[in-house]
Structure formats: structure tokens, C-alpha cells
């Protein structure tokens, strides 16, 4: 792997950037691999990378039906934070945030992590109680979360309207300074390049159409649009299509797929220097390095695989934006899009083994998967490699729906739904 640096950049500038090597190969699939990862998004690529790096398993293929990062990795609003309520989630997302903090260096790829801080606003006394509770739990879990009164919120985010005359005034906020945003595409590309360098085969436009099992029920490989590929183990990491793939192995999941829409404004000069989330009035916003305001909200209510949502949802979230930031009202919505999010009943992911030996699932992240990318890949790689859950992943096993040990993060999800 050619290392990226200011020197390599300068050297390549001399040749007008004509000599840069491919960031990852485009190999034909081999007949079989030790592990096949289904899904070339951030989580899948991270899984492959950590399988190779942490567990020495490099005979791995990542199969992507379209282009790398073309699913939710390239469609989310790029928020990174770890201020989750329950211990299990806090461990997972904080592990992830710690990996984020060293990720650019680890991957030799600038993923543009920008730790400019995340506000989760409270608009009712109930929000205040929940916010304080979360900040306190975070603090005891070693997460840098604090509670801010409205004056403190205004200080952190001057353009925010903290006037008491708002329909739902800002009564305070949690504040995680280490939270922020990252460049979503770079995460996929950086992991792909690093995984490829360790020998992982990344195969695009290769759609999995079936999961083949041995007579004894163990997974044997996957049928794809490029033919059968044998596999000792298969990991499904295909956000938006988790249920569809699981169904190929006759597994029903407590997952429903919904559209999640987002939008950006035209680029403007820097005006917003942190991430602002409001679950109560349904909007969250940050400003990208390109100058666009990146805005999201809650999911559309119905099941869909269309990557398309309903416009009234966007109207409600822009109304909420205009309420919180009246100075943004004249700015313009430039681009909208939607992803498909797999939602679990308790707003926590499913991460671990399945009833089919050799088949593993990592999905159901709902609206919050991007921030978990490194941690998810890290613990999932461990789970696949050792055939037993990583301790941080263990509580997220499918069995929790039978025992009742749910990890209900509705209060901590960006928007309660």
C-alpha cells in the first residue's frame, strides 16, 4: 500500500497525479474464502479489516451488490457520538468512538473526524429528566457527557434560538464535546483500502442471491450474481436488507425496514460549529466542511425498500429547523435523499450468531449505525473469528428478544420513534 502523506502528495503533484495506484483492487472472486462478508458498507469493510488486522484472517471477501459505501454509509448525516443511556450501548459506542479517534492514523486515510461536539436538546421537563439521567450515566461510564442549562447551550451554539418564546423552548441540553461528524465516504474508502492492503478481496456489483447450507445445516457459501462462492463463515452486514438476506437462511428477524430521509442546504460560510439534535421537535443539523447544513430527522412510518420517503416528513423537519434556527429560514434545501434503515423494537442493533452455524448477523442499527462503524466492525470481527460473541457484543444477541433483556435506547436514538 502506498502510504499517503504530504510527501507522496507533493511527489504525485509533480506528475499531475497520474501515478496514484488503485486504492483497492478489483479482483474476480475466488471459489471460496474463510469468511465472506455480505455488504460493502462501512460496517462490512470494517469487519473485514479487523478480521485481517486483529485476527489474522485475511482470506476474506467483501461482497457488495452495488458500489462500496453506496448504502447507508453514503447516505447518513455522519454524526458520531457515544452518549448512549444503557451500559451495554455505552460500552459499544464508546469503544467505537475511541477507535474513531485513532482511525485516520490507523487507516492512513483522513476520515475527517471533526469532534466539534454534539448537543441533544431538551424541550420539556421530561426531556430534561431524561437528558440529565443520560449525562449522569455517561459520566459514570467514562463518557464525556455533561448537562448544559440554556445559557450554556447558547454559548456552545450561538445561532440557536434559546428564547423562552419558542413553541417548545430549549430547556437545556446534553453536550458531548468528543462527539461530532466524519466524512462518510472516506470511512468506506479508507477501510476498503486498508482491508485490501491486508489481502481482503473486495468484490463490487456482486449481489448475494442465496445462502447455501450443508446437509448438517452449517453455512457453506453464498450464491451470487457472479456465481457460487464458498465460505467457512458468512457475516451479513447489509443494512437495509438484513431481513431479505436473513430470509435466505430461513431466519426471521425482529427488524422492519423504513426510509430515513436527509437533506443538505446550499453551501454557506461557517455558521454552525457543533452538531445539534432535537428529538422532541424532530430535527438534527450540523454543517459539513463543504459548508452545507446537513439535516435529518425521524424515519418515515411505513416499510420500504425504495430509498425514497414522503415530502411532508421533510417539511416537518425544515419547520423544526426554522424554529430552532430562524436565521437559517432563507437558506435553501439543495439535495435530498433517503436510505433504508433496519429498525429493531428496542432501537438497538442485533450483533452476533444466528441459529444457522457459521452464519453471523450484524444489523438493525436503525438510524444510528454510522457512529458505530469502527466498533461494530471490531466486535463483529471478533465474534466471527472466535465463533463466540465479543463481550461488548454479547448483550446484543438475537436471544434478547426471547429472554426479554432488551436494550431500549428509544430515548437515546436521535429521534424517538
Amino acid at each position: 500500500m502506498t502510504r499517503y502523506s504530504i510527501w507522496s502528495l507533493a511527489r504525485n503533484a509533480l506528475s499531475h497525479h497520474a501515478d496514484w495506484p488503485r486504492q483497492w483492487r478489483s479482483p474476480a472472486p475466488r471459489p471460496a474464502y474463510d469468511v465472506v462478508i455480505v455488504g460493502g458498507g462501512g460496517h462490512g469493510l470494517a469487519t473485514a479489516y479487523y478480521l485481517a488486522k486483529e485476527h489474522g484472517i485475511a482470506n476474506v471477501a467483501v461482497l457488495e451488490k452495488g458500489w462500496l459505501g453506496g448504502g447507508n454509509t453514503g447516505r447518513n448525516t455522519t454524526i458520531v457520538r457515544s452518549n448512549y443511556l444503557w451500559d451495554e450501548s455505552a460500552a459499544l459506542y464508546e469503544l467505537s468512538l475511541k477507535l474513531w479517534e485513532g482511525l485516520s492514523k490507523d487507516l492512513n486515510y483522513n476520515v475527517m473526524l471533526s469532534q466539534r461536539g454534539v448537543l441533544n436538546l431538551a424541550h420539556s421537563l421530561g426531556d430534561v429528566r431524561a437528558g440529565r439521567r443520560r449525562a449522569e450515566a455517561n459520566r459514570l461510564n467514562g463518557i464525556d457527557s455533561v448537562w448544559l442549562e440554556p445559557e450554556g447551550v447558547k454559548k456552545v451554539c450561538p445561532p440557536l434560538n434559546t428564547s423562552a418564546s419558542l413553541r417548545y423552548p430549549v430547556l437545556g441540553s446534553t453536550w458531548q464535546p468528543r462527539g461530532g461528524t466524519a466524512r462518510h465516504d472516506a470511512v468506506a474508502w479508507g477501510y476498503a483500502r486498508a482491508a485490501d492492503a491486508r489481502g481482503v478481496d473486495i468484490i463490487q456489483t456482486c449481489e448475494v442471491t442465496g445462502i447455501r447450507r450443508d446437509p448438517d445445516g452449517r453455512v457453506a457459501g453464498v450464491e451470487t450474481t457472479q456465481g457460487f462462492i464458498g465460505a467457512g463463515k458468512v457475516g451479513i452486514v447489509a443494512a437495509g436488507h438484513t431481513s431479505v438476506l436473513a430470509a435466505m437462511a430461513d431466519i426471521r428477524l425482529p427488524i422492519q425496514s423504513h426510509p430515513l430521509q436527509a437533506l443538505v442546504s446550499e453551501p454557506i460560510k461557517p455558521v454552525l460549529d457543533c452538531v445539534v439534535m432535537s428529538g422532541a421537535i424532530h430535527v438534527y443539523v450540523s454543517q459539513s466542511d463543504k459548508g452545507e447544513l446537513v439535516i435529518g430527522a425521524g424515519i418515515d412510518g411505513y416499510n420500504s425498500y425504495a430509498q425514497r420517503g414522503s415530502v411532508h416528513v421533510l417539511e416537518h423537519q425544515t419547520a423544526a429547523l426554522c424554529e430552532l434556527f430562524p436565521v437559517f429560514a432563507r437558506l435553501r434545501m439543495m439535495r435530498t435523499w433517503a436510505g433504508i434503515v433496519d429498525v429493531c423494537p428496542d432501537a438497538s442493533p442485533i450483533l452476533g450468531k444466528t441459529p444457522v452455524p457459521g452464519l453471523f448477523i450484524n444489523g438493525g442499527w436503525g438510524t444510528g449505525g454510522f457512529k458505530a462503524t469502527p466498533g461494530s466492525g471490531y466486535v463483529f470481527a471478533h465474534t466471527i473469528a472466535r465463533d463466540e460473541p465479543h463481550p461488548v457484543a454479547a448483550p446484543f444477541a438475537l436471544e434478547r428478544f426471547t429472554t426479554g433483556a432488551l436494550i431500549d435506547e428509544h430515548g437515546a436514538a436521535a429521534v424517538a420513534h
Partner: protein, 100 residues
């Protein structure tokens, strides 16, 4: 924005409706007789097909009736609307995007 034909009120815009997820999930007659796993399946496991989905909607802002809809989750096309207690009608496969 979906346009949904309420069986009584006719086509109305999506915000008038409340989504109820998969249709035809029958509540077990004797939950106590079920294993934990079977009960969990009833409470949590739902179909999530890419293609035709039989689902429930309630016309909350209108006549407050629940009814069933067959909808293509890829094209969002509403393929059929029928009342509670009725069985799903057959669908012309040519109309289904998700099957492609």
C-alpha cells in the same frame, strides 16, 4: 407521499393514516401455552419483504377504521385494499417492482 385508498373514504394522503405493520398476525389464543421463543416470535418477529407486503393501516384522521393494504415496498404502489377479516386478494405480478 403515499396516497392510500381508505375502503370507506376513498383516496387520502398518507398523513391521515397510522401505520400498523404486518397484517394477519393473529394473537395467540392461549399465550400461556406458548414457549418463550414462540411468544417472542408473536411479539417481535415480523415479515419484512422486499416486494408485496400485506400491512395494516388505520384512517386515524378520518373514519378511524383499520384496514389491510397490499403494497409493493419497492415502488410504493398500493396493489389492493381490503377490510379487516377479509383475505388478501391475488396480485398481478406484472405490477410488482420488488419482484424484479
Amino acid at each position: 407521499m403515499l396516497l392510500i385508498e381508505c375502503p370507506w373514504c376513498g383516496p387520502r394522503e398518507e398523513p391521515e393514516f397510522h401505520y400498523g405493520g404486518q397484517a394477519h398476525v393473529v394473537r395467540p389464543a392461549d399465550p400461556a401455552a406458548l414457549s418463550d421463543a414462540d411468544w417472542a416470535a408473536y411479539v417481535f418477529l415480523r415479515d419484512n419483504p422486499k416486494g408485496v407486503f400485506a400491512e395494516r393501516w388505520c384512517h386515524t384522521a378520518g373514519c378511524r377504521r383499520w384496514f389491510n393494504v397490499l403494497r409493493d415496498t419497492v415502488s410504493h404502489r398500493v396493489l389492493a385494499v381490503y377490510r379487516m377479516g377479509e383475505t388478501a386478494p391475488a396480485v398481478d405480478p406484472a405490477l410488482v417492482e420488488g419482484a424484479r
